[in-house]
Symmetry: C2
């Protein structure tokens, strides 16, 4: 093996160490947010939990919001390629997904980090753009794909704008969750799906 | 006029001064949030803008979020009793209201304070409860009243849950606004109304 290597290429070991540190930082951020909430979350606390120096974090991320976004991205990359269930029963499939979302949001270990991510995005247009491009965008693609299949099967009217449909199915849940304007229940999830499908005119 | 008065009753002058200070503080908080955003907003800056001491603010409010909530309450109390338009054309009335909301959200002087209020509520369950009880609740009552009139006129199906209807009509707009997941336009507002009324099955 040649001894000469470009000064700018990190060794395989260094890359592995960096990746291990990175994953430790992201896990720590997610867990801590789930324990103490976003307001109290600090770069220092994340560093301590991850066993790295504070500067290591600041080298890679400009803010705790950015760390949290990458934590969610890391979570979304693990496991199989997700996709909305397709049993060809649109109503059943949407109810399944929305009920699963209600369950997830009821767990403080997920609820608190997601609140943190949401408030970081709300105030930071750059972070919002990254969030839309790398996290929400791909998730919405999966939703759009399921709804398009339903549209092709004649279960959704042909001239329905699927982005509006996505907003109508998921928007009510997220809005109610965020502002705690009502209890989030499987029953509410079911009724959002039923009402979105049949329309208010009934 | 009797000179003897209970020690605990403030003089009419003191009450007027308190009210003037209070309104100055709330106006200052709202304006400043609209100029610099919620993250940078501080009690100190609000006090300076309002021309009061910092302790005056802390005496009455526990946090900048609480000040902002009262600022929105003060705004909602000025003017005539609001109500959703009722021309008996439900679709036109809802489009009017949603388009007005889109315009309001496009103005940074309203957008930024509302983002601030929203993030304060998201992380503070006490503030959220106060928000729901004193601000969002009454607003939702007006929405419910308009939809109930439409239901009585047969324009909305009799068995539709009006709280779900409210979430479906307003949820998409607020969700898209908050997370900047798409542009907020009159066209989007119109299509949300049309799709909510006709349903996805079409």
């Amino acid at each position: 093996m040649s001894q000469a290597k470009p000064a700018s290429r990190p060794s395989a070991d260094a890359t592995r160490r960096n990746e291990a540190s990175r994953r430790a930082i992201l896990s720590a951020a997610f867990e801590l947010a789930g324990e103490i909430g976003y307001d109290k979350l600090t770069i220092e606390a994340i560093a301590a939990r991850a066993g790295v120096g504070k500067q290591t974090i600041y080298r890679w991320w400009p803010s705790k919001g950015a760390v949290l976004l990458d934590a969610f991205l890391m979570l979304s990359e693990t496991g199989e390629t997700p996709g909305l269930p397709d049993t060809s029963d649109l109503e059943a499939d949407l109810k399944f997904v929305l009920r699963a979302t209600v369950d997830e949001l009821a767990d403080p270990r997920f609820d608190l980090p997601l609140r943190g991510l949401t408030s970081a995005i709300m105030h930071d247009t750059d972070l919002a753009a990254t969030y839309v491009e790398r996290l929400q965008g791909p998730i919405d693609d999966l939703k759009r794909r399921r709804l398009a299949a339903a549209q092709a099967a004649g279960q959704i009217a042909a001239d329905i704008d699927l982005d509006v449909a996505i907003a109508m199915i998921w928007g009510p849940l997220m809005d109610r969750w965020l502002l705690r304007t009502g209890t989030l229940t499987a029953d509410f999830a079911d009724r959002v799906v039923e009402t979105a499908l049949r329309g208010l005119r009934g």
